[in-house]
């Protein structure tokens, strides 16, 4: 098989790691191989968690390859750091990162196929064209299929610097293409990590401390060990692992564990967190993230000052497939199988933990039943590997939903205080934001709009270190900060007597002509989505309809939203959300709409309903009966639009989420006169019981 590496021009054999044999397939490069019957197999390297990279990546390859999409078969690639770069899923970065190399892969193979045809016909390759898996020599009318050409083409030297298509010639990219995994999903095929079974494997569940800030003092596992089907109970670190023959037997035995815990750090409650926030808001030693101009003077001479505080709770990621991983540690190497967003880092961590060289460790990436950032961490991979090495057997560790919700890595709780100083003309001349978080790192995004558009600006951050573990949660920090910023700007616009959209556009105009410090967002792209959202939603043209506006830039993309709220029996009902997204070139129109709708439902649901509260260091919520997620009857209508500017794609997994809370809150204000400041909104007065 012939292939080539991105890192040097020399041909090298691609390592195609799949269980399904490529009988008669000619390998072209890490991404694709072509069989003599014309079947094109494209490997999708990045973990698939519902962002549908498994369809969009192959679409990009197939486009430049000029392939007949109906002949394309997609397979998930295993971890292979020699064949693929950045094999991870996070930061809405996969498509932007791989855009050029995927196109090059397809174009290179297409070039080789055309060269093979031209050589076969003894004609100049310039007289040939390729389309839908067929090469044609127009002058003679000769044609050859990719299947017929593959064997010869694969032996040719790999060309460098192939020409890529103009986007006006795209036939696949930009279309609505069905998810390649639909058939497997709707027929219940074993594609998820939890579905992985291996003859002879054991099952395990792990009891971890319920309270953050505690550690194991003693373990009495006698009763658990005596239960039917139980093979062993193993204690390692703060874990008590029950190992047995089936998931149910293990989960029953686990309930009989008698574990005593003792204090090992701060044991906190939500009341403690609120006190911590209040204290940090008054701190005289914040970390200064950005300072422009002279806020002290701006505020002391202001005509009007607007001030508001916002707060969010901890959140669980709660992907519907709970954490799980399979590990088999053998004397000659380690086999890892399961759902992870970071397979390379997970493997390195296992290698380090067990002192086994990485080239002796394989990792097969299964489909992920949701990620949302939780599976960026490899804690549950290490658990499985360590346990397997201790019991010297293959084992699948399964987390229950309770384990998942009580188990940490949360979206951190944060409180923000925003202040704005307005001059007598209603211009915002001063802006302050202090974010105080719990294990949130820097909970501000100091270069976000309106930074650069306000002459006197101060952004500060403070962080409280807690035993409660936190992690990246879809659109980290901006998933709540977006709401707080956009709700605050709405309030400032109101105080200034200005239309909220006009208020944004004036600030952007100032950032363009007279910036105050660095402007780290693209003013044109932001203006475009704002104007388009105003147009599509009928902003200002719908008397009697309550509309709220919000715009956000995150992960390289821009999304503006307008939310429509109506009153029903005196209570606000979220009827519709318009979303305009600029993510550059849209790859799969169907998938892109999914990411926008899904991001909005995700943002809305958590803004409205979800929270974790703490008592004695443990979450009071444990499962979906008391940790509420949005359901079908609670969704508004959503209308999506995409800006067609043809720039290289800039990612869409996260950007539609941050603006959602602000658009909703601002519309609710219009309808009720009440500002929403804390999430979940269902706990705010406006949604509580009313006659």
């Amino acid at each position: 098989m012939l292939g080539f590496s991105w890192f040097n021009a020399e041909a090298e054999s691609p390592v195609i790691i799949q269980k399904i044999p490529f009988a008669g397939s000619m390998g072209f490069n890490s991404y694709l191989s072509i069989a003599s019957d014309g079947t094109i197999t494209i490997l999708s390297p990045n973990p698939e968690l519902g962002q549908n990279i498994m369809t969009s990546f192959p679409m990009i390859v197939a486009e430049e390859l000029d392939a007949d999409w109906t002949k394309v078969k997609v397979l998930q690639a295993a971890l292979d750091t020699k064949a693929f770069d950045r094999q991870l899923t996070g930061g809405s970065g996969a498509v932007p990162h791989s855009w050029k190399r995927l196109r090059t892969a397809g174009a290179t193979a297409r070039n080789m196929l055309m060269q093979a045809a031209a050589a076969q016909w003894n004609v100049p390759v310039e007289e040939c064209s390729a389309s839908d898996s067929v090469v044609t020599h127009s002058k003679s009318g000769k044609q050859a299929s990719y299947g017929d050409l593959a064997a010869t083409a694969a032996t040719l030297p790999v060309p460098k610097d192939v020409k890529l298509k103009d986007r006006k010639d795209f036939k696949i990219i930009g279309q609505a293409i069905k998810n390649v995994a639909n058939k497997d999903i709707v027929t219940g095929k074993p594609i998820f990590g939890l579905d992985f079974y291996r003859e002879g494997m054991l099952h395990a569940m792990i009891q971890r401390p319920a309270s953050f800030g505690t550690k194991i003092k003693s373990v009495d596992s006698a009763a658990a060990k005596a239960m039917p089907g139980i093979v062993d109970v193993v204690v390692f670190k703060n874990n008590v692992a029950v190992v047995g023959k089936s998931t149910w037997e293990v989960s029953k035995a686990r309930k009989l564990l008698k574990i005593e815990y003792e204090k090992d750090g701060d044991i906190e409650s939500t009341a403690d967190h609120n006190n911590i926030f209040t204290k940090l808001m008054d701190s005289s030693t914040p970390s200064i993230k950005r300072a422009n101009g002279d806020v002290a003077t701006a505020f002391s001479t202001a005509a009007k000052i607007v001030k508001a505080e916002y707060q969010c709770p901890f959140l669980s990621h709660a992907p519907l497939e709970p954490m799980n991983f399979f590990a088999h540690v053998r004397p000659d190497g380690i086999e890892l199988v399961g759902p992870t967003q970071t397979p390379a880092s997970a493997r390195s961590a296992v290698a380090k933990l067990l002192s086994v060289p990485e080239d002796k460790i394989t990792l097969e990436i299964t489909r992920l039943g949701g990620g949302f950032g939780r599976r960026l961490k490899w804690d549950y991979v290490l658990e499985a590997a360590e346990l397997s090495s201790l019991i010297k057997a293959p084992v699948k560790v399964t987390w229950t939903r309770e384990d998942d919700i009580t188990g940490g890595s949360y979206r951190p709780a944060v409180r923000y205080r925003f202040e704005a100083a307005l001059d007598s003309k209603g211009n915002m001349v001063g802006y302050k934001c202090r974010g105080v978080g719990i294990n949130a790192g820097n909970p501000t995004r100091e270069d976000n709009f309106p930074s650069g558009a306000v002459d006197n600006l101060l952004i500060e951050s403070l962080d409280h270190k807690s035993a409660i573990t936190t992690g990246a949660w879809r659109a980290p920090i901006t998933n709540f900060l977006g709401f707080a910023e956009q709700a605050f700007l709405d309030e400032v616009a109101q105080a200034a007597g200005k239309d909220p959209i006009q208020f944004r556009l004036e600030l952007l105009a100032k950032a363009r002509t007279n910036p105050a410090g660095p402007v780290k967002y693209n003013i044109d792209r932001m203006e475009t989505v704002i104007k388009m959202a105003a147009e599509k939603s009928g902003w200002g043209k719908k008397p009697g309809v309550f509309l709220g506006f919000s715009v956000y830039f995150s992960h390289q993309s821009y999304v503006a939203q307008v939310c429509e709220v109506i009153l029903q029996a005196g209570k606000p009902v979220i009827k519709k959300i318009y979303a305009v997204s600029d993510c550059g070139q849209v790859i799969n129109l169907s998938g892109a709409r999914q990411q926008v709708m899904g991001g909005i439902v995700d943002g809305l649901g958590h803004a409205m309903y979800s929270k974790l509260t703490f008592k004695n260091g443990a979450t009071e919520q444990t499962n979906f009966n008391n940790y509420r997620l949005i359901r079908m009857k609670e969704i508004p209508e959503i209308e999506t639009y995409f800006v067609d500017n043809g720039i290289d794609p800039t990612g869409l997994g996260e950007p539609a989420l941050p603006p959602t809370g602000g658009a909703v809150a601002n519309a609710i204000f219009k309808a009720t006169g009440k500002r929403l400041r804390n999430q979940p909104f269902m706990d705010e007065e406006v949604f509580k019981a009313k006659a």
Binding site: N52, V186, G188, E321, F624, I635
Partner: protein, 152 residues
């Protein structure tokens, strides 16, 4: 342990398990039928939905001992060729994101359409209320149920 004989997807299966084993875990761990998913274990998310004599039930809280001779249908048995109108509609509308909840969604919808071949949007929303889609693909799930109802 007692051996349970179960009628699943028109075939007979035997499982040597404890009486209180939820049908979900019999399907997944004992019988290799992993289309039915584990999401919460307390009948809150719907990922484990199967049919018991045509009714949608949450298999995570259904002890195997209570199944007896009832006819169980799982996602694997909804159709022989994967072409039940709902399965077709799911592809036509391009419903799934991660896909983990979708077998449960389809099974709930299939039971609904058996009883009510042309449900209103409100009836769909009510029937599907017990099925969580964490990815938020609800709009398309609802649309696909409506589409399937026009083909039944």
């Amino acid at each position: 342990m007692p051996v349970y004989t179960l009628q699943i997807n028109g075939k007979e299966y035997k499982a040597d398990v404890a009486a209180d084993t939820p049908l979900l875990w019999v399907l997944r761990d004992s019988l290799g039928l992993v289309g039915t998913k584990f999401g919460c274990g307390i009948a809150q998310c719907g990922a484990c939905t199967v049919h018991l004599n045509g009714n949608a039930v949450k298999s995570c809280v259904l002890p195997v001992a209570s199944v007896k001779t009832a006819a169980i249908t799982t996602i694997e048995g909804l159709s022989t060729l994967g072409d039940h109108p709902l399965q077709n509609a799911w592809n036509e509308v391009d419903v799934p994101q991660c896909g983990y909840c979708q077998a449960g969604q389809i099974m709930t919808a299939a039971a609904l359409l058996k009883k009510k071949p042309h449900p209103s949007e409100a009836e769909i929303d009510n029937a599907m209320h017990g099925n969580i889609c964490r990815c938020g693909a609800y709009h398309r799930i609802r649309e696909a149920v409506k589409l399937a109802s026009t083909k039944i």
